[in-house]
């Protein structure tokens, strides 16, 4: 029952140079409060692992706009011309990973696997520098786990222990990154009493969540 902290306090724990996993798909399911606070705090040299960088002014795009990101590991940057500009200008390093592979690499990081074998990317530029492993004569790429210092998770509801559920397509990478970071910060649309999310409805169990962040509430 110790998990709720203020957003500013949460962001104060994130140092320059941190490796962040951030939930969301084109901004949907991205924890905007945490992202905005990172921008306000001006955290620099971040590595961001996420599906995409959304669009300028939206979700992770705000971190790109503010030039806070040194490296992006994502499946897609095509909707954000500023990410592409920074990449071409050499200001931001971009590692492109097929979306399903990105999901499995993050999951492997959180689930204690040493890697996974996928058919995706065999024979393409994605295979460069990677080990190909044959199973019964079929080639697969060995893709390695990803982990982060912090996961910034967006949930629908969080209870005071830290159990989380998610809404529709805002779920996306959130439950995966919640398993794969040293510190997990969750921004929930609603914080509810323990027991309100029934055991079968919990998607992320409380034990992996370090803190729920409260929305900034102004009184008076």
């Amino acid at each position: 029952m110790k998990k709720v902290i203020q957003i500013a306090e949460a962001v104060a724990r994130i140092p320059d140079g941190a490796v962040l996993m951030i939930g969301g798909f084109m901004g949907v399911g991205t924890p905007d409060g945490l992202v905005d606070a990172l921008v306000s705090a001006g955290r620099r040299d971040l590595t961001v692992i996420a599906n995409d960088t959304a669009r300028p002014g939206v979700g992770i795009g705000k971190l790109i706009d503010a030039k806070l990101v040194r490296k992006v590991i994502a499946s897609h940057i095509g909707t954000n011309p500023e990410t592409q500009r920074q990449m071409i200008a050499g200001e931001t390093e971009v590692e492109l990973v097929p979306q399903g592979t990105l999901a499995e690499r993050v999951r492997a990081g959180g689930f204690g696997l040493g890697g996974i074998l996928t058919p995706t990317g065999v024979g393409t530029v994605v295979a460069e520098g990677k080990r190909t492993i044959e199973v019964d004569g079929v080639p697969f790429l060995l893709e390695l786990p990803l982990r982060a210092d912090f996961a910034l998770v967006k949930a629908k509801r969080g209870d005071y222990l830290g159990n989380l559920d998610y809404a529709l397509t805002a779920r996306n990478f959130n439950p995966l990154i919640a398993m794969a970071a040293d510190v997990v910060l969750a921004e929930a649309e609603a914080i509810v009493p323990v027991g309100v999310i029934p055991p079968d409805a919990v998607v992320t169990p409380s034990v992996v969540v370090d803190h729920l962040v409260a929305k900034e509430v102004r009184h008076g």
């Binding site: 798909f25 084109m26 901004g27 949907v28 399911g29 599906n51 995409d52 959304a54 669009r55 994502a74 499946s75 897609h76 940057i77 095509g78 909707t79 592409q84 990449m87 971009v94 492109l96 097929p98 979306q99 399903g100 592979t101 990105l102 999901a103 499995e104 999951r107 996928t118 058919p119 995706t120 990317g121 065999v122 024979g123 393409t124 530029v125 994605v126 629908k156 998610y166 809404a167 529709l168 397509t169 805002a170 779920r171 996306n172 990478f173 959130n174 439950p175 995966l176 998607v203």
Partner: protein, 218 residues
């Protein structure tokens, strides 16, 4: 009928009742409009839902229910939401019956390039590589040429999306089936000749005795 509509209507005929289908962003999305009423398919969106429908109507938008392009959608009764690992488990695990994707190039071996133009456009592959590697049936829906340059080529100059041979290529001029023997011309669009298709195609086409006229959905 404009060329995109023609392509979408022809592709619509490839979908079967009960299929699980993923439509790429852009032209492929149009296919959903031309399904016959008796053909019920489930549309998957790789951001994590089975049972999506067309764009949400004004006033019915929910910020947490979008397609892979980030546009608001609706969902049918019986839709299911899931995380990105499950979404690609469906795609990679052979559960997806059909994916319809746009293309930049298809080569003589039936291999697709559709995710980058080095030095010009590096959007990232998103889900395309998994979709082409994993779907039971891959249909490429694209214009036959780009500003007059053939997109069906001997060998892809652009980086491949997958080494897997796609199953069908539908353009505004023709329906082409990549096979182990090469690209077989199955249909030509109404009013288009085999010679015209070949002229607009860099790759060699195998032309069977009978080439049908392209049928299109109602």
């Amino acid at each position: 009928m404009d060329e995109k509509t023609l392509i979408a209507k022809r592709v619509a005929l490839e979908l079967r009742d009960g299929n699980l289908v993923n439509l790429g962003i852009g032209l492929p999305t149009l296919v959903a409009r031309y399904l016959a009423p008796e053909v019920n398919v489930f549309f998957q969106s790789e951001n994590g839902i089975v049972g999506m429908t067309a764009l949400a109507d004004e006033g019915l938008v929910n910020a947490d229910l979008t397609d892979a392009g980030g546009s608001p959608i609706s969902a049918v009764a019986g839709a299911a939401a899931f995380d990105s690992a499950v979404s690609f488990g469906l795609i990679r695990g052979g559960h997806l019956d059909v994916t319809v994707l746009g293309g930049l190039q298809v080569d003589q071996e039936g291999r697709l390039a559709n995710w980058m133009v080095p030095g010009k456009m590096v959007p990232g592959m998103g889900g395309a590589m998994d979709l082409v590697s994993g779907a039971k049936r891959v249909i490429v829906a694209m214009t036959h040429t780009a500003k007059g340059t053939p997109k069906i080529v001997k060998r892809c100059g652009l980086p491949l999306t997958s080494v897997r041979r796609v199953d069908l290529v539908v353009t505004e001029l023709a329906v082409i089936e990549p096979t182990a023997a090469g690209l077989v011309l199955r249909e030509v669009a109404p009013g288009v000749t085999v010679a015209q298709v070949q002229a607009a195609t860099e790759a060699e086409l195998i032309v069977p005795e009978h080439v049908a006229t392209m049928a299109v959905a109602g």
